[in-house]
Symmetry: C2
DNA sequence: TACAAAAAGTGCGCGTACGCAAATTTGCGC
DNA sequence: GCGCAAATTTGCGTACGCGCACTTTTTGTA
């Protein structure tokens, strides 16, 4: 179901997409994001400028995608991986924290770049919206596949909470002084911010779960 | 607090904004949205094209704003107007339904226009995100002004629910046959869609309210 | 292997979005 | 009234986003 489309086609497509976002990030780091034209990225990735816009609808999107990558869809997988015993709210919170923490975000240089430029920051924060779709499936599966509409609302709410946490994280970062170690981006509070943002939604998530259980 | 800025300045600004969105809608209705250039709207409103983009960051935004207007901020006011006795979830649902129903949306012609063109539909649906800020204030006031962070998450969740309801409404509309009366847009189900979308969030809203009450 | 259908890549052209700096307008104290 | 500082408007130039039609590549089938 993942690689439904035949094979070589989809394979090359993903390769091109990856080449584009890596080229975008590399060039942005090398010369600063303001000195990178779309044409440069396309050329570096070996495709035409027009093709670039078939993959990304803005310059910022490609750069951010290099850091974000497939994180959004992994959140859904992480939730599905949790045992059925744990409460839905906990499963979601743990999965989100797990996926939005270090492993995927270890690109320190890229993050300072993103948090510095407002346009990139906005694109980075807005990228959280992409969890909605996979998350809808994951939550729908937990609440027994009924009431997909409720699952979508809950997923969108979780996405909004993540967005708020990231917004706070990246903006609070700007004002905060660099830690002695030399890192400008304090990665410490992010898990806390995520959990705090998700906490208010816990009653809704658990209630949906209970409602589903009561029906069976 | 509403008209904080001196007076004549802000007044003219609002006048210009209104002139722009009304011109945008009028021209779009007259010749179809694809035959309206930004220059035309600016000229009709008596400002330069560049000024247009000081007020709206896309062509769709102005057209949609003519319908949306100040609805988002009125939702917050409507919530504040509810007596303290009613549960927060009910107050929110009632206020949202009240504001997103007929009075402001009676522009039938404009709505068929918007639901027809994908770009306008998207702009219309995304406009719901503008409730987040005023709604945050309204909810924060209800939960005793503490924990503004939770209020923001809840407000963003409500905004997401509204967005989903509008999305369903405008898309479902496209496929539905015109009612005998001649109207293509069935305004009937919108309140139902809104309530259904908001329902899953009720536990979270009420829990926040109770938590605040328990602290006092 | 050959071939037709489908899908991805490409070039072109138009209209848009926005940074920048000059010009104009507004608000306020005197 | 007068003039100055701040805010707003405007023109210009650049780069971007994307629809469209066309070319190239991949896929499934005979």
């Amino acid at each position: 179901m993942t690689a439904r489309r035949t094979g070589l086609r989809e394979q090359k497509k993903q390769a091109t997409r990856q080449a584009l976002r890596e080229a975008a990030l590399r060039l942005a780091l090398e010369r600063g994001p303001d000195n990178v034209r779309v044409d440069d990225i396309a050329e570096a990735a070996g495709v035409s400028p027009r093709t670039y816009n078939n993959y990304f609808s803005s310059r910022e999107e490609a750069i951010v995608a290099a850091v974000t990558a497939e994180r959004e869809s992994r959140v859904a997988a992480a939730i599905a991986a949790r045992p059925d015993g744990v409460r839905l709210a906990d499963a979601v919170a743990d999965a989100v924290v797990e996926q939005y923490t270090d492993p995927g975000t270890r690109q320190g240089d890229a993050l300072v770049l993103i948090t510095t430029r407002p346009a990139l920051r906005e694109a980075f924060v807005d990228a959280a919206a992409r969890v909605e779709e996979p998350l809808t499936d994951a939550i729908a599966a937990r609440i027994c596949d009924r009431d997909r509409d409720a699952a979508r609302v809950l997923a969108a709410s979780v996405a909004a909470a993540i967005r708020i946490a990231l917004d706070r994280w990246t903006s609070g970062t700007a004002g905060a002084p660099a830690v002695p170690g030399g890192l400008v981006v304090p990665s410490g509070p992010l898990p806390d911010l995520l959990r705090a943002a998700l906490a208010p939604l816990a009653p809704a998530l658990n209630a949906a779960e209970e409602r589903a259980a009561a029906r069976d």
